[in-house]
Amino acid sequence: MTAKALDVERIRNDFPILNRKIHGQPLAYLDNAASSQKPAAVIAAVSGYFLNSHANVHRGAHQLSVEATDAYESARAVVADFIGGRTKELIFTRGTTESINLVANSWGAAHLAEGDEVLLTLMEHHSNLVPWQLVAARAGARLKFVGLTPDGRLDLEDLAAKLGPRTRIVALTHVSNTLGVVNPVAEVARLAHEAGALCLVDGAQAAPHLLVDVVDIGCDFYAFSGHKMCGPTGIGALWGKKELLDAMPPWQGGGEMISEVQLEHSTWAAVPHKFEAGTPSVGDAVGLGAAVRYLSQVGLEAIHSHEIELTEYALERLTELEGFELFGPREDRVGVISFRFGDIHAHDLATILDARGIAIRAGHHCNQPLMRHLGVDATARASLYLYNTRAEIDALVEGLIAAKTLFGGFA
């Protein structure tokens, strides 16, 4: 089946912010791995919810509460469906970071004992590292790390060697936010299960760009964020296998998550509400639902092929530049392009490009251990999404040439 082609000019009209001028120049937004922009449909859904239907959810017997609850729960259904999960298995969180903290604290506290091992990789975002450091320190568990191949892929031989009888969980990213590489998560999940361990996948950089099916992947938990996939900030999700979620203790206590409360003890609501203490971010959940509908309407295959084609064009043009050095593989990747350019520091590049209206990221990308592994303190990163164009890639290339001129060449 061939994906329907994506009409970029039409897509761009859906995103009001793309008409902005930055320092008098048209915006070229190439910082999508940090956060994506929002289509008018999402902005309208959030504002429509507050204009017409807001009340607290799962409580009152009045009309608005019913409408708010419907809006919230139908958002849950479309978001679960978007990644191939069942509605009951989808917990709304503030984002990927909170989703992983939930698993580390609830599942981790119940199942990690002294001497147990958590297997991570060298390319994890701090949000899939620090929560495990915290829980491992409390449990007396050890963290182990899968290394990388020289071209920046996961070293599967190293993974097989480090999986052992004490490994309780393998937690890894689906797509690296620095290297852009797509990890073979289905294979990793299979290897983890063979070793008797669970598998958590950090989907923050994958769910916005790839057609994700958690059943096909075969993982136990999948975490992702709304704001990187056209939705609002402050909303994300954790998908988990029902039987695991059922057996896990609550993480935070409060309203929403209880069945019956006595003075000395309580019983818990069923999953997913057991993990949603307090009034949730209803408007943001509605916005994420609208984002998922928007992405599905455009089509994930169409988005993916547009990005792959644009990434190939970008790499072709960028690697022609003397002094351009790419971090990460040429193949098996998405449009997250981390690089260095001669001896011009990433932060200086970002300033010079910003003056031309081009937004990129400069820094360690919440990936300090990976930066140390690569032997750099920062990289520049251009990251693409469905609304980016060849003209913007050309502008990036010209901006880099201008930076080199401004610096009087390389030292």
């Binding site: 000019e9 761009r12 320092h23 008098g24 120049q25 048209p26 070229a28 001896d343 011009i344 520091h345 990433a346 932060h347 200086d348 300033t351 010079i352 003056a355 031309r356 209206g357 400069a362 820094g363 360690h364 930066m371 303190d377 920062a378 164009t389 003209a391 913007e392 050309d394 502008a395 010209e398 901006g399 201008a402 401004l406 610096f407 009087g408 030292a411």
Partner: protein
């Protein structure tokens, strides 16, 4: 078909960029002065900017209220490293109170104070006046100076 053409930087921004990346700044970035380790330093402190990864370690030899030697180690963007390099040049031989005054003048300059920017006491450091037009870069230029403040203002 494509109506969002991408021209280069506008004229004003281009001028501001040229002021930001003056030759003297690039020279200090690529050939930093006083970069290295002073074995017998009396004061030393490392600070980093966790957002962008810039690092500066400042080392001072202070005797009888006077900075007799200054050096730095570090890595990062041209602004953070050039600022550290130029700062060490202006510190040597200066009394501690004078160094703190220089720090105050420099900080005022970065926040757009034109009187401070024409203070000859700053020497080459005046080349960094252009940073004031780039608010997100002010913290880069101040990194070495934050080390200086913490070292000199700490109780003896």
């Amino acid at each position: 078909m494509n109506d969002h053409q991408m021209p280069g930087a506008g004229h004003d921004t281009e001028v501001q960029l040229q002021q930001l990346y003056q030759e003297v700044i690039l020279d200090h970035y690529r050939k930093p002065r006083n970069k290295g380790v002073i074995a017998a330093s009396t004061h030393q402190l490392t600070l980093n900017n966790p957002l962008c990864g810039d690092v500066v370690e400042l080392q001072l030899v202070v005797r009888d209220g006077k900075i007799v030697d200054a050096a730095f180690e570090g890595s990062g963007c041209s602004i953070s490293q050039a600022s550290a390099s130029m700062m060490t040049e202006r510190l040597k031989g200066r009394r501690v109170a004078d160094a703190l005054e220089l720090d105050a003048t420099f900080t005022r300059m970065l926040h757009g104070d034109e009187a401070a920017a024409s203070d000859e006491d700053l020497g080459d450091l005046r080349a960094l006046a252009g940073v004031s037009r780039f608010p997100v870069r002010i913290k880069c230029a101040l990194l070495a100076w934050n080390c200086l403040e913490e070292l000199l203002e700490a109780p003896a």
